[in-house]
Symmetry: C2
Subunit: 226 residues, 2 copies
DNA sequence: TTCCTAAAACTGTGATCACAGTTTGCGGCC
DNA sequence: GGCCGCAAACTGTGATCACAGTTTTAGGAA
């Protein structure tokens, strides 16, 4: 399933604006575009080698998802800055939605999902050991959403996706400062076990614990950093 | 069908695509565009008397907010259809977010907010008495978001806004079938009282009860209708 | 130097056109 | 009469241009 580690992160979608969306989204999550700095349609277009038109579409979408902000006075684009208050709201929303997605996925879990999760988790451990921050964040994202997608709850799933997009820059701050030291991988094993046993409440608890730990770290890092 | 150019004074936003966004959003919420039917950029543009360009921007935003859907094969636009499963997810998300927003608003409530809410609520009652469905839904939206905006929780607020946008068509189905018979206005009075007393848990409970009642009706209507 | 002004560069927005793919509808064929 | 096929209309997408603000830069005057 997800073991294909495509060197091209851009999917096979023929729509240019979708590829641009993915590119900017990835740049945002991995922190290649730092929070607070301004961007522009034409500069992004030049950087990606496309015309401003598909960039405009992608940016419109990212603004709607609050992954980019638009200055009401200037109408100029920028990456939203990180604040403790924003992090708290995003954390709270994640704690509502993501454990529920895991709980919904539990009864639907099958052997293929478990195998896929184990593969992702080993990639995650490898990235952790190597200090590969990008690899860790990519694997972590893949792990969570492999579970969430199994839930079949499309609406909640898209909400979770939007939250990860907004919280991505915070994660980068944490791992940029603290490193990949503390390891929440235990909860991943716990989550896999709960899913294998189709234990609804166990899955909910494992994901909630995983989230709580990660977000506590982020909170500490943000409070210390500001 | 070209002479239907309404010279409505849409907001004070100078950006055309924002006005188009508001227009389509309102049409969606009030059910003027029925769920399941297809729309197109050019038809919307002609109807609103603008060029396709700002419509394209507005639609991109609405698609990102899941208020419009895009057929992956056709790439054609349509209004998402109503399903019991979708309603359940939207309801659950609303029950997480909106009572929390009310709870956060409670300590910040002041006399101006209370007065505003009372004014909105009387407009709501008038619309109910007159059987004015559009007026009722507009007032109900205004009531809830007057409270939520007071919370200052920007992230959660925008999530709530997205949820209302998606649940709008469901509301129309309810009131189109059941009429404005059952009245949840009692909970509005309860919410106002709790806010006036700066009672955090009371506000949370009142809004939760209001939501539960309304969404139960929607669920019944959708299950009966499908 | 320091300050102020004018020009150049850059910004998002909207309009218009071209293009490829899909849908629709009409006409003729069996 | 029923069905097939082709052309016209319509769809979203992308490129290019014009325009009005804003920001930045350059230059000249004190």
């Amino acid at each position: 399933m997800a073991e294909a580690k495509s060197r091209r992160p851009l999917a096979d979608s023929t729509a240019v604006h979708d590829q641009v969306y993915d590119a900017i989204r990835q740049a945002l999550i991995t922190g290649r575009i730092a929070p607070g700095v301004g961007v522009s349609l034409r500069s992004l277009a030049a950087e990606l080698g496309v015309s401003p038109m598909p960039v405009r579409d992608a940016v419109r979408r990212l603004v709607a998802e609050r992954a980019l902000a638009i200055n009401p006075a200037n109408k100029r684009l920028s990456v939203p800055s990180l604040s403790a208050d924003r992090l708290q709201q995003l954390s709270q929303a994640r704690l509502w939605i993501e454990p529920e997605l895991a709980a919904r996925a539990a009864p639907l879990a099958d052997e293929a999902l478990i195998k896929g999760l184990r593969a992702i988790d080993s990639r995650l451990d490898a990235a952790l050991a190597a200090g590969d921050v990008d690899g860790y964040m990519t694997a972590n994202h893949a792990f969570h959403f492999a579970i969430y997608e199994r839930s079949g709850a499309e609406v909640l799933l898209s909400m979770a996706g939007g939250l990860w997009l907004q919280i991505g820059p915070f994660m980068r701050v944490v791992f940029g400062r603290v490193g990949t030291g503390g390891l929440p991988a235990d909860y991943h094993a716990e989550a896999i076990a709960a899913l294998k046993a189709r234990d609804v409440e166990g899955a909910r608890r494992a994901i909630a614990a995983d989230l709580s730990e990660g977000m506590d770290k982020m909170r500490i890092a943000v409070e210390a950093g500001s």
